[in-house]
Structure formats: structure tokens, C-alpha cells
């Protein structure tokens, strides 16, 4: 079952490789004038150094996007934990930075046995000019999903791969397989050992998982394509930046260049309500975005 889907995902990826998607081909049409659009103005610096609380965002127009509980696929989320997300965007020609803000008075940035982390994600069509199924794309129209994760950021900030003692500081254990076997103990780190990106096999990676999907259950991480991001929680709300490289070798979203129009969608997970996977608040319609020249 899983193999079939992987093959589909690969085929979809192959079908939209760089040579098949010249930047100007199939540019998204200009949005209708009355459709609320996110406008990313040009600024001098929009790379990963741009902090979520930076004053640069004050000048950017804000668009509030309403979110609904995900109630299409099971397991469903019966209630919206996060009903709205405020979005601002800027770019400097090399990076597009989306600044996302939502109310959440509980910080959830650990992954104990029974706790879940706060997360936010952006979704773009992988092929310029297409309008994929908003729910993870489809076999012919894949999507790029950039997901920032609070616990991932916390681990990266600590500079240490996750350990049980981070969630359980007073734990004790009889055997430390790392002490006994050194690096050979890594075989007992199943997911990390096989390079599962959620296991943070590389502590120097990004708090944002850059992924591609071509339908339900197909979300797969890019090995090398990197988006950056940073979240700041002030006790009442999150402000998160997601930095997306524009064009060049690191290009993540083909066609997303200064002067272009595209569309995107949003999802937020509230760890306090055990949200993960399909248990989320999401924007059920694509929102247009325009990058000023």
C-alpha cells in the first residue's frame, strides 16, 4: 500500500522536475480584484535573519485568514482550536518570508509520550499555474508543504538531539546504550537511524520541514531543499516566520519569483488539544499571493 503511494509520489515529482517547469510557464492568473490577496512587498533583507517580531512586518499589509476544523478525512478535528491566522509577507528577491501570527496561550514545544507540539504549515502548488486539490494535492498536481514545528525548533536551539530527559528531567535509567555501544547504539534509534527527518538526525537542520505531497498520506520530506523558520511565543500568541528561497539552486516552489502570482493554503496545529496530522485547523480555500517586482 505504502509502496504504491511512494511510487505515485515519485512519478508526480518526476513529472514536475525542473526541466518541465520553466518559471514563466503557466503562471497563476492575476487574482480577481475583489479576492483578498497577500501582497509581499520588496524589502532589503527578508532572509532567515529576519526575526518574527521585526518592525519590517509592521509596514506589510496584513491579511486575516479564517481557519476551519479539518472535517473531511478521518480522523477529523471536530472543533477549531485556532479560528484565525494573520499573515504578512515580504521578499528581497532571494527569500520570501511569510510571518504568521495566531492566538495560543499555551506553549507546547516538547514531545513527551503524551504531549504534542504546536505547528504551522504553508502549502503551495508545486507546478506553477496549477490549482491542486487543497488537501495535500493529487497525483497530477503535487504540492509543497512547509511545516514549522515548535519542538523541533526547541531541540535545534538546544543544539542537542532529543533525549528522554528533555521531557523527563528527573528520569533515571539502568542502561545507557550510547555509553555501552557508542555509535553502534544508533541502531536502537530506529527512525533516526534510517534518517527520518522528524527524528532530527541532523541537529543542524531547520525547524521547518520542507515536503512534497501528491495526495493523502503521501507527504514526503525533501532531502536537501531547505526552508528556514523561527517561532516566538509571548505567552498569548505565536509569531512564526517561514523563509522560502526564491529561484536559484535551493528553489522550493517553482514559479515563485518577484512579479509572480501564486496561491497558498494554511494549517495550524494546537499541541494542547493533541492536534497532529489530519487533526488540525486549516484554510479550506486557496489564498492568492503576489510578489511585488
Amino acid at each position: 500500500m505504502y509502496r504504491t503511494i511512494s511510487i505515485l509520489a515519485l512519478l508526480a515529482l518526476a513529472a514536475c522536475g525542473p526541466s518541465d517547469s520553466p518559471v514563466n510557464q503557466g503562471k497563476a492568473p492575476d487574482p480577481a480584484p475583489n479576492v483578498p490577496t497577500i501582497v509581499a512587498g520588496r524589502v532589503s533583507e527578508a532572509g532567515p535573519a529576519l526575526a518574527p517580531d521585526s518592525g519590517i512586518f509592521d509596514a506589510a499589509p496584513e491579511l486575516t485568514v479564517n481557519l476551519l476544523p479539518q472535517t473531511v478525512v478521518v480522523p477529523r478535528n471536530p472543533e477549531t482550536s485556532v479560528p484565525q491566522i494573520s499573515v504578512r509577507a515580504v521578499h528581497d528577491g532571494k527569500w520570501l518570508t511569510m510571518r504568521l501570527e495566531w492566538q495560543d496561550n499555551t506553549l507546547n514545544n516538547t514531545t513527551g509520550i503524551s504531549d504534542f507540539e504546536d505547528m504551522v504549515a504553508l502549502e503551495f502548488p508545486r507546478t506553477p499555474g496549477t490549482t491542486p486539490n487543497i488537501m495535500m494535492g493529487d497525483a497530477n498536481n503535487p504540492v509543497v508543504v512547509l511545516q514549522w514545528r515548535a519542538a523541533r525548533q526547541a531541540a535545534i536551539d538546544r543544539g542537542e538531539r532529543p533525549e528522554s530527559r528533555h521531557a523527563y528531567p528527573h528520569m533515571s535509567t539502568d542502561i545507557d546504550i550510547g555509553d555501552l555501544l557508542g555509535n553502534d547504539g544508533s541502531v536502537y534509534q530506529g527512525a533516526a537511524h534510517v534518517g527520518n527527518p522528524v527524528s532530527l538526525p541532523d541537529i543542524n537542520s531547520s525547524p521547518v520541514l520542507a515536503q512534497v505531497a501528491a495526495g493523502f498520506s503521501t507527504l514526503t520530506s525533501f532531502k536537501e531543499r531547505i526552508a528556514e523558520g523561527r517561532g516566538v511565543h509571548n505567552g498569548e500568541r505565536w509569531r512564526v516566520t517561514i523563509h522560502i528561497p526564491l529561484g536559484g539552486e535551493l528553489e522550493l516552489v517553482p514559479g515563485l519569483v518577484p512579479g509572480a502570482n501564486s496561491i497558498l493554503a494554511f494549517a495550524v496545529w494546537d499541541g494542547k488539544h493533541e492536534e497532529r496530522g489530519s487533526r488540525k485547523s486549516w484554510s479550506p480555500a486557496w489564498t492568492p499571493i503576489r510578489l511585488d517586482d
Binding site: M1, Y2, I5, T71, V73, V74, P75, R76, N77, P78, T111, G112, I113, S114, A151, R161, P162, E163, S164, A167, Y168, M171, T173, I175, D176, I177, G178, G185, Y188, Q189, G190, A191, A192, H193, V194, G195, N196, V198, S199, L200, F216, S217, L219, E274, R276, G277, S278
Partner: protein, 375 residues
């Protein structure tokens, strides 16, 4: 939702996927009457598979003392309470499975245990409490009885963990029915942890992915029984391949015990997963408790067990427990012995039906000493 046939329920049931049975299904039989709770199985499983960081709370194999022992805490009473009272009599199960009683928005009934629920396995399970009056050993809510219940993943025919994984990261191997979590694809959503009613899928907070018993598949592939089976001090376990009842072979010891003698029964079959660990129920426990746990055929299974010595074939199958590391595909009873054969039909073990007994005189002439029984 597709319909699948669950022979343990004697009927079709709802399941999110079409029912494709593996080419063969690995299974275990455990004789609860012989378990001494030495936890050797728990320790060997732990040292073989889960000594890593983030696995500290994980016991893919555990042994708990019923009725008060649970790992994780309250695992079965919690899901039984959610499931509600179900009718268990009759050849066809008239109640609902955990898929059929799923709340709106969910695949199945379930809950995620709290981290404390994993924290103290076995602590206090069979300790006495309160003051002992002269002559009494123990005072409890009911007459004194208990038994040990060893548990591993059931490598279910209709796994709820697999059905619940929204990333389809869990798969059932067509070659042996072992249920595995793809460690590359899992994202730690814990839907499997939530919906496995046996709570045999675990979250690893270090790798942030879920993990579960792998049925010692590297051993199974080599024709060997699982670690918990071959280490078992009480020789209570047998690993082998089980057929569906319509294809049961009398010369397969697993089939003989489960299908022909109907001696070993699945744990909580009413959940609807068609679990593949089969238990010979304890003979001294109040029937209503066992009825709920192993289904309505418990009383007949206990009656069969009490006269197992009179059925040479059954005795022969039971004596193969713990007798060899190899998986036995065929056996026969001949000349007062039970003989087991591996997949290539090569003889791998021979056990006498009656152990030779030698009675030695109390006085040892050679050493000029009395023999004393120190065990």
C-alpha cells in the same frame, strides 16, 4: 467501509481496508497456567530490541498479574469501559467491534495513555495490603485468585494500528503477517498508540516516531521462534504459523491446539482485530472474568486442558513448547514420542510423552550419604 471476514467473531465486520490475508500468519500460543512471571521474556525482549534512548518506558513484551496488573495502567479496563457491555454468547458475535463503535470523526475507539501510565509496570500488582489477621494471608475485594498474563503485539489480522495511521506508515507483511511501522515514514502522530486496544504501539519521544513489537522477524525469516518464546523459563510459549479454521491442518501443532482442540483462545476477540496470540486460559479463575477476556469458549477450553493428558495428539503438541528454537511446521506422535519437523520437513525435535522416572534409594551407597531433596 469494506467488509472483512473475522473468523473469531464468526461474521463479517467493518474495516477501513479490504481484507487480504497474508500468505501465512505468524502466531503465538501462551499457556497461562505455566507462566511464573519470572519476566525473562520481558528482559530478553528489552535487551534485544528496546534498550535505546526513548525506549525506556517500552516493553514490547510484558507480563502482568491479573486482575490488578496492567501495562500501561488500566489498558484493558479503560477500553472495555469505552466499548461498553457487549453480548458475547452465540457462534456469531452480536456485539460491535471497536471499528463499528468508533465515535464520529474517528477510525476506532481508543485513547492515548498518559506518560505516568507506563511509569510503574508491575508495582503493587500482587502485593497484599492491610493488616493480616491470624490465619489469613490476604484480604481482597473478592476471593483470592490471580494469574499472570504475558503480552506482546498480536500481529492482528485486522490491525487497528494499521487502520488508524493516517500516513499509511504501518503495513502487514504478506509473507508472514508481521505488522511493522515504517520507521522512515512514521511522523509520530500516535494514532496507532491511540487505537491499538492492546496498547502495544508506543511513542518514542527521542526519535519522535512510534515503535512496536516486530515479531522478531529476522528470526522468523530464519525459521526460528521469537526471543520471548525461546527464552521462556516456564516453556509456556510456542511460535508458529496458524491457518484459518477452514484450512487448519491437524499436523500443524498451532492449528491442532487452536482449531482442533480449541484449547487456546484470542484475547478480547470482541474488539474485532482477530489477534494472533492465543491463550490457554488459567484453570482456577472465576469464569465470568475469563469469559469477558477470552470469549465464550473458555469453559470448554479449561475442560479440555484438564484432560489433555488423555489426548495423545494434544499432549504431543503441548510438549513441543520450549523444546526447540526452530519453528515447527509439522508434528506427529509416534512410539510414545512427539516429533517436530521444520519447514523443510526435517526432524528438529523429539520429546517423550512421558518423561522417564528414576527412583533412587534414599541412602547413597557409593558416597555413604543420604540423598536429600533440596528443591
Amino acid at each position: 467501509m469494506p467488509k472483512v471476514y473475522n473468523w473469531q467473531l464468526g461474521r463479517e465486520m467493518d474495516y477501513p481496508y479490504n481484507g487480504i490475508r497474508p500468505k501465512r500468519q505468524v502466531a503465538l500460543i501462551m499457556d497461562t497456567n505455566k507462566c511464573i512471571a519470572c519476566q525473562t521474556c520481558t528482559v530478553i525482549c528489552k535487551t534485544t530490541w528496546t534498550p535505546g534512548r526513548g525506549q525506556e518506558h517500552m516493553l514490547w513484551n510484558n507480563v502482568e498479574s491479573k486482575p490488578y496488573g496492567f501495562y500501561p495502567l488500566g489498558w484493558d479496563v479503560k477500553i472495555l469501559e469505552q466499548h461498553g457491555v457487549q453480548p458475547l454468547d452465540g457462534d456469531t458475535y452480536a456485539g460491535k467491534t471497536i471499528f463499528e463503535s468508533a465515535p464520529a470523526n474517528e477510525i476506532a475507539l481508543g485513547y492515548i495513555p498518559g506518560d505516568q501510565d507506563y511509569a510503574h509496570p508491575n508495582v503493587g500488582e500482587d502485593d497484599s495490603f492491610g493488616n493480616m489477621t491470624r490465619g489469613a494471608h490476604l484480604s481482597m475485594q473478592h476471593n483470592q485468585w490471580m494469574f499472570y498474563l504475558p503480552r506482546i503485539c498480536n500481529h492482528c489480522t485486522y490491525p487497528s494500528c494499521l487502520a488508524s495511521c493516517s500516513r499509511q506508515s504501518i503495513y502487514k507483511r504478506p509473507e508472514d503477517g508481521v505488522v511493522l511501522i515504517d520507521q522512515e515514514r512514521c511522523r509520530g502522530y500516535r494514532e496507532c498508540v491511540k487505537n491499538c486496544p492492546y496498547k502495544k504501539s508506543f511513542f518514542n519521544p527521542v526519535t519522535r516516531a512510534s515503535e512496536k513489537c516486530i515479531g522478531c522477524y529476522p528470526k522468523i525469516e530464519k525459521g526460528h521462534q521469537t526471543q520471548c518464546t525461546t527464552s521462556c523459563i516456564g516453556k509456556i510459549r510456542m511460535t508458529g504459523f496458524i491457518s484459518t479454521p477452514d484450512k487448519a491442518r491437524e499436523d500443524n501443532p498451532m492449528d491442532y491446539i487452536v482449531h482442533h482442540a480449541k484449547l487456546a483462545l484470542p484475547l478480547y476477540p470482541q474488539f474485532g482485530l482477530e489477534p494472533n496470540v492465543y491463550y490457554i486460559p488459567p484453570i482456577h479463575v472465576p469464569p465470568p472474568f475469563l469469559h469477558q477476556m477470552f470469549g465464550r469458549k473458555t469453559a470448554a477450553a479449561i475442560a479440555t486442558y484438564r484432560k489433555a493428558a488423555q489426548d495423545e495428539k494434544l499432549l504431543g503438541a503441548l510438549l513441543l513448547f520450549g523444546a526447540t528454537e526452530r519453528i515447527i511446521h509439522r508434528y506427529k506422535v509416534e512410539g510414545g514420542q512427539t516429533i517436530g519437523y521444520d519447514e523443510t520437513d526435517t526432524e528438529v525435535v523429539r520429546v517423550p510423552l512421558v518423561e522417564p522416572v528414576k527412583i533412587r534409594p534414599v541412602w547413597d551407597e557409593a558416597h555413604g550419604a543420604y540423598r536429600t531433596n533440596v528443591t
